[in-house]
């Protein structure tokens, strides 16, 4: 045990304590456990949603992407902002609908909007398939962060087990109340660490942020804008479109929506969140500072830029603080995903298949599902395989396929019905899964396509096919007097 490991484990203990305390004063039935009895204040909802936003991917991924790709990393800022704009109108409607119909999971919303139980099952399967890789992303990130910032004293395997146990423990005891309280601890720490690194590192190495960018531009002209090929303007805009549509279609984002006491919190959040998103810019500054200081990281290694630079800059105790912040960015979003996934498993897969089951039985299923899902994620994490980015892209590509049908239903037009929604989701997910599994893209099947088509994000192509299938099948199966799906 070195000083860094001790510093890493301390905030974890605080988080565990806060997480376990979350239970106090609440009878832990499923509604309390999973969505806080729909009674969270605006501030707590803000913390939960911000907590979901700042995951391991933003901590390591944003800085690493800035380090490895330069200008294109700014897509992260653009897409989150546009997602907030969408959230202003989307979330209150989802919230109102869920409250009226007692929905507690994303698939329930779909099943009820479209009046189709089979659609609920399909959405539940899609949601789980997208959530598990996202959970694995958090675990992988956690292992990586803790191993590096503890100077190897804590192995990735040990780190993943410790993190997963703490997370499962407080999730089992306090449910979403635990996540909300740990989110507060995490946000304060991450905010402080990102702000410090983003301002201090450029100042320390280059004498200021402006100087740093001037040095980068001198060494690598054009690196800080979009390149002409690869991650160019077309890639940028299509990725922004995909990600901003998909951001609130993660199943755990719906869970956070259901916790709110009032729909106005979402509209307030949409105003404040963009400013909060600027914290990610500070994480990127740390990544840019690493460009000239720790050159040569390639491929998946770029995720390590922030940590490597920190190692060569700071004393061990402060490296431990960074490790602790990183660990919390994995555990807090991970816990929300875990709650969402196990509620989904119980309410949207188990219950429809066993309609006779009692509420008490459902609660038991949820409580058993949480540790089992954790074990699954830990197993997949330790087994190795795909890189963080590959996993996340797959999850994002899949989960965004849920967006078109619900967004069109939200517009309240009789465009879309359950057959169309089912066809669209299946086509979109099948396309994305196929490209991920076979590792192919548009450039393989259509080599003579115009250059800009080849730069499109694959998920966006899936989204296009999805929308075509959705509208076409809805039109073909439309019957007289059919009013279509409506929300609310």
């Amino acid at each position: 045990m070195n000083i860094a490991s001790i510093v890493i484990l301390m905030p974890l203990a605080v988080a565990a304590w806060a997480g376990l305390r979350g239970r106090r004063g609440h009878a832990m039935d499923l509604v309390q456990w999973s969505i806080g009895g729909r009674g969270f204040s605006g501030l707590l909802v803000f913390m939960l949603m911000a907590g979901e936003l700042y995951t391991t991917f933003t901590f390591l991924g944003a800085s690493g992407f800035a380090y490895g790709h330069g200008g294109p990393a700014l897509y992260i800022l653009v897409y989150t902002c546009l997602a907030f704009v969408l959230s202003y109108w989307l979330l209150p409607q989802v919230w109102r609908f869920a409250r009226r119909h007692g929905a507690m999971t994303q698939p329930e919303v779909f099943a009820k909007v479209f009046g189709s139980a089979p659609l609920g099952l399909v959405v539940a399967a899609v949601a789980l398939v997208a959530l598990v890789p996202y959970l694995v992303v958090q675990m992988k990130g956690l292992g990586l962060i803790v191993e590096i910032t503890s100077y190897g004293a804590l192995s990735p395997t040990a780190a993943v087990w410790i993190g997963a146990s703490v997370m499962t423990l407080y999730v089992s005891v306090s449910g979403i109340h635990g996540s909300a309280l740990t989110a507060v601890v995490k946000d304060i720490l991450v905010l402080a660490v990102c702000a410090f690194l983003g301002l201090y590192l450029p100042w320390h190495y280059d004498g200021g942020i402006g100087e740093m960018f001037r040095h980068i531009e001198a060494a690598r002209p054009g690196f800080l804008a979009l390149p002409a090929h690869g991650m160019n303007a077309v890639w940028f805009l299509s990725t922004v479109a995909l990600s901003s549509l998909g951001m609130y279609f993660w199943p755990h984002a719906f869970s956070a929506v259901f916790t709110a006491r009032s729909e106005r919190s979402f509209r307030k959040n949409a105003v404040v969140m963009p400013l909060y998103a600027l914290v990610m810019l500070l994480a990127m500054f740390a990544g840019y500072a690493a460009v000239l200081q720790v050159p040569g990281l390639q491929g998946g290694q770029i995720d390590l830029a922030l940590l490597k630079l920190s190692l060569q800059t700071f004393d061990p105790w402060f490296v431990g603080v960074i490790g602790a912040a990183g660990m919390l960015t994995a555990i807090v979003p991970g816990s929300i995903m875990l709650i969402s996934a196990s509620t989904l498993l119980a309410r949207s897969l188990y219950q429809p298949l066993r309609p006779a089951c009692t509420d008490a039985e459902l609660v038991r299923v949820t409580r058993v599902a949480a540790p089992l899902l954790t074990l699954l994620a830990v197993g997949l994490t330790l087994q190795g395989g795909s890189s963080i980015v590959a996993l996340l892209l797959m999850g994002f590509g899949i989960v965004t396929q849920l967006a078109p049908s619900l967004l069109l239903a939200m517009l309240g037009r009789p465009f879309v019905n359950r057959h169309g929604a089912m066809a669209g989701i299946l086509v979109g997910v099948a396309f994305v899964a196929f490209t991920v599994v076979t590792g192919t893209g548009l450039r393989h099947w259509w080599p003579e396509a115009p250059a800009w088509v080849k730069e499109l994000n694959t998920g966006v192509v899936g989204l296009g096919l999805n929308a075509v299938a959705l509208v076409l099948v809805s039109r073909l199966t439309r019957r007289a007097g059919d009013t279509g799906a409506r929300l609310p």
Binding site: V78, C81, L82, V85, Y88, G210, E217, A233, V271
Partner: protein, 73 residues
């Protein structure tokens, strides 16, 4: 389509314009590369636009008590 709905297009158009016309490193704005400065301006603009939308939206004029009435779209 109310005025505050149209406002929501502003951040989107600003982002598209940034990619089409703002995609360059020089000149530096307040020490930041031009494209980055544009993006940050977009973030601030989004916050301002959403604050305006919030003010204009009749749905936010009722009391906050969890029993808010449905607003017309």
């Amino acid at each position: 389509m109310k005025p505050h709905h149209a406002l929501a297009c502003v951040p989107v158009l600003f982002a598209v314009a940034g990619v089409l016309w703002g995609n360059r490193v020089q000149p530096f704005i307040l020490g930041l590369p031009f494209f980055m400065a544009w993006t940050i301006a977009g973030v601030l603009l989004t916050a301002v636009v959403m604050a305006l939308v919030y003010r204009l939206d009749p749905a936010n004029r009722q009391e906050e008590d969890g029993q808010e009435q449905e607003h017309r779209r």
